[in-house]
């Protein structure tokens, strides 16, 4: 039996089994394209009408010109110190020689100093120039942004105004439709006021029953108005979804005798 336990095929079988599993895992990891990234969302602007051309962006005054680079101080070459006159003849020549070399040395030093100064000033100027350019670019960008914002705001305002007009239109339509159906005789002679809350479906149909928020004190009148609302069931509602969203829940105030 021990020959059976140590089957001659156990290694090859093990390797094959391993291969099968590697293949399976590879299939799982690479084969199935798991949704790795969200599809990019699409933003859609709904315009009720074309936006008016953006108002000309107000050109902001250019930023003040960059300050003039600081005046470069020029180092005046100092005159060589006066050579003290001496009457000594001895070693005059030598002295003169010495003086000459000294003079040369000083001249050289002065030259170097002026050169350095010039370099420095040049660098300073360049830096200033760059800064000024950066400032200008930023100012320009700001200006553009402001202009864009202004355009957006204008468009929004325009849209809001359009929406408002639609809303007003439909509110009056709803009011009149309901008013037609109110049995005014039930509301007496006074000036009762009622408040109802209704919820609408996008088709204009009522969702649920109207809820009486504030009664007139006359049960019959309340009933009459409620009936009127129910009878005028498909109420006129705007078709634009963004405008309709303001009609989903309505608070109606009635004065039936007015």
């Amino acid at each position: 039996m021990s020959a059976q336990t140590l089957s001659p095929h156990r290694f090859s079988a093990g390797v094959l089994a391993l291969l099968v599993h590697v293949a399976f895992l590879a299939l799982l990891v690479f084969g199935i394209s798991w949704q790795a990234k969200e599809p990019p969302g699409v933003v859609v602007d709904l315009w009720s009408d074309l936006p008016v051309k953006a108002a000309k962006p107000v050109v902001a005054p250019l930023p003040p010109p960059p300050p003039e680079p600081a005046p470069v101080k020029k180092m005046e070459p100092k005159p060589a110190p006066p050579v003290p006159m001496r009457n000594a003849d001895i070693a005059l020549k030598e002295k003169r020689k010495q003086q000459e070399t000294q003079l040369k040395e000083e001249k050289r030093k002065q030259q170097e100093a002026t050169q350095k100064q010039a370099q420095k000033t040049q660098m300073l100027q360049e830096k200033l120039k760059q800064e000024a350019e950066a400032r200008q670019a930023k100012a320009l960008a700001d200006q553009q942004q402001v202009a864009q914002e202004a355009v957006a705001r204008a468009a929004q305002a325009k849209q809001a105004a359009a929406q408002q007009s639609i809303v007003d239109d439909y509110t009056s339509r709803i009011q009149s439709k309901i008013r037609q159906k109110v049995n005014q005789t039930l509301c007496g002679n006074g000036n009762p006021q009622l408040e109802f809350d209704i919820t609408l479906l996008p088709t204009g149909q009522l969702r649920g029953n109207p809820v009486l928020r504030k009664g007139s004190g006359i049960a019959a009148c309340d009933m009459a108005v409620e009936n009127a609302i129910l009878q005028s069931d498909p109420l006129p509602v705007p078709t634009q979804p963004e405008v309709f969203s303001r009609f989903r829940e309505l608070h109606l105030t009635f004065r039936p005798n007015e």
Partner: protein, 227 residues
């Protein structure tokens, strides 16, 4: 609007995000699958060899070779006789032994020979059937283990969902996908095991009938010789 639940679920992140129980289930199933595939390949080779051996031996046996010579070759060979050879060897050895003892009639000699062959036959079939029980177990149990992992994962994902105010599909989907891997794994382990189990039991049955018919024929030959 932004959805918080990360929609990026690659297979590996799913594995690492899964709960401990689910991970345990997956590991168990992977192990079971590996073992069952190992046995599948092992049995495949062993059965193939056994079939080939049986065919070759039958051919040799029926070619009219001298039985003594055949027995000599089998016992002196390097290889341990297997399968049909083993049955032949056991039967012939018992037969010659009993034959040497005087005072036994042919029917009792044949009885002893048959018993010896039956014992060898049972041992051989048992050797062939090794680890088939494991395949049967994996085939029947691993779908349940996978299902358990899935149920657990979905339970967890729903519990996590309860903490989120507004449930969207993006909240539920990764958890469920994660949990369903366990079922997939269970099925992956079970299906080959069941197929292999059915096929191998069938193959072994056929081999066993072959051995049995050989036993009957061989005892007939021995009985004829013994007279």
């Amino acid at each position: 609007m932004k959805i918080e639940a990360t929609p990026d679920f690659s297979f590996l992140t799913m594995l690492t995000n899964a709960s401990f129980i689910v991970q345990l289930v997956l590991l168990l199933l992977l192990l079971a699958s590996f073992m069952s595939w190992w046995f599948i390949f092992q049995r495949l080779f062993i059965l193939r060899v056994a079939k080939k051996q049986a065919e070759e031996f039958e051919k040799e046996f029926w070619s009219g070779v001298d039985l003594n010579q055949l027995f000599q070759r089998l016992t002196s060979g390097r290889l341990v006789p297997r399968g049909m050879e083993k049955i032949f060897e056991a039967g012939f050895r018992e037969y010659t032994k009993l034959k040497k003892q005087s005072g036994l009639d042919i029917s009792s000699v044949m009885d002893g020979t048959r018993r010896a062959m039956r014992a060898a036959y049972q041992r051989e079939v048992d050797a062939l059937e090794r680890s088939l029980a494991f395949l049967a177990t994996v085939g029947s149990v691993s779908p349940y283990i996978g299902l358990f992992g899935t149920v657990w994962g979905i339970m967890n994902s729903f519990r996590g969902l309860a903490n989120v105010g507004q449930a969207t599909l993006a909240h539920v989907a990764p958890g469920i996908a994660e949990a369903l891997i366990a079922t997939a794994m269970g099925l992956f382990a079970a299906i080959p095991a069941v197929i292999a189990y059915n096929r191998y039991t069938h193959d072994i049955d056929r081999l066993a009938t072959r051995y049995e018919s050989f036993m009957e024929e061989f005892s007939n030959i021995l009985q004829r010789q013994g007279r």
